[in-house]
Symmetry: C2
Subunit: 252 residues, 2 copies
């Protein structure tokens, strides 16, 4: 079972040119070529194309789509789950917009006028804004940051929730150690720090021990991190840093 460009274009609802383009940029190379040099797509290619079109539909640039599809730790099921998550996120966003439009209709009936900021609330408040800017200033050119951007772009709400839960749980285990009076240089604390590092690797970016140590120091030196972490329990940031540094030294 193999198909020509025309056939594939037919049931995928794209043009032949699009398939040529995907071949050119290496996003979808047909499994084979006929003797005459004609592209021949097999079933696996169709599956891949389906995924490509799905992510494209949701606005991902083709380059990112390629990264997603070639990521070895995303199997077919994981893709379906992720797709479902992305869809529900998107639906939620549109429903909020619809609700905002309804409110606007109400407001107009009553002759209310909105402030400039309010006028754009339709699009949802994605406003880490000035903070985001500083992040770009400090980290924009590093590899780790770029990788994080790439990976988190396709995270759904459920993904974020899971990551948050993981982090909370880890925090609680650190707090338990602190409460028990276990020193941050102890085996147990260092093991937790190691788990912390691996969590970052899984969810955000490749984080070696050295980078992890930098991160730990910043948890204390940058008060915004400190405050945020200490919300779970005062002193946690400092304890975390010490455990991280001890763990880094152990592996260095």
């Amino acid at each position: 079972m193999s198909y020509s460009v025309g056939q594939v274009a037919g049931f995928a609802g794209v043009t032949v040119r699009t398939l040529h383009h995907y071949d050119e940029i290496g996003l979808l190379r047909p499994g084979a070529r006929s003797a005459a040099g004609h592209r021949r797509y097999d079933d696996a290619d169709l599956d891949r194309l389906q995924r490509i079109l799905f992510y494209r539909e949701l606005g991902f640039p083709l380059e990112e789509v390629a990264v997603l599809l070639d990521d070895p730790d995303i199997d077919p099921q994981a893709h379906l789950r992720r797709q479902h998550g992305l869809l529900t996120d998107r639906i939620e966003r549109l429903e909020k917009m619809a609700a905002a439009v309804e409110r606007a209709m109400e407001a107009r009936k009553m002759g209310i006028n909105l402030t400039p900021e309010e006028k754009f609330e339709v699009f949802g408040d994605f406003d880490p804004d000035d903070y985001q800017e500083e992040v770009e200033q400090r980290w924009g050119s590093t590899e780790a940051y770029k990788e994080s951007q790439r990976r988190t772009a396709s995270y759904t709400k459920e993904d974020w929730k899971r990551i948050q839960e993981e982090a909370d749980e880890l925090g609680n285990r650190f707090l338990a150690l602190m409460a028990a009076g276990t020193p941050p240089e102890s085996e147990a604390a260092m093991d937790l720090a190691e788990e912390h590092r691996q969590g970052i690797c899984r969810n955000h970016y490749e984080c070696g021990h050295e980078l992890h140590a930098c991160l730990g120091r910043m948890y204390v030196s940058d008060h915004r991190f400190t405050e945020n972490i200490d919300k779970a329990g005062p002193g946690l940031a400092a304890y975390l840093r010490d455990a991280i540094l001890a763990n880094a030294e152990r592996h260095g």
Copy 2:
């Protein structure tokens, strides 16, 4: 109350360059310029920008957005209604995709494999396909067709439903005349034909009497039209054509 590019870009969540671009192409000209040549946006400009971003978000090309926004028979309320309609359509589509993904997950669990066509059903069966192609062949280069494409692009499901109802109602009134034995050249039939023509003007494209006459002839000469029309009542297509031709002659 007037705002600089930077401010507007700020609360609209777009770049300054985007605003420059919209100015260049005439989509959003700021209400005024300062002495130094700086763009100054007023409240009306903000409203317009909000609409622009809304339609852009739903994937309209900027040129079409301009047409929509400058259409004099779309007042603010109408825009809100249309926006709401477009949103619900979109949500419906995404929900269907989500459902399809769920089915795919089920299918995968049971190890079923899908045929190539089935694989792409996720994207909803928009398959006037070969028919669509012929339409393009025959009408692709005419002004009326382009106008129709432009206008129907922003129609929501509700719009289509309304248009369908209008058409059905008109059909029934024609059938009543036929049943009563009224000739298609009668005043009553010609008036209905005129109403039919004006319906096309409102909902699809500028349709003069001459074009209308062509259309009428085609209703009989192209059997696909004939069959479709005669589903409402046998002989309707021919009767419709005769009434249209009589009406066209009356106005010619």
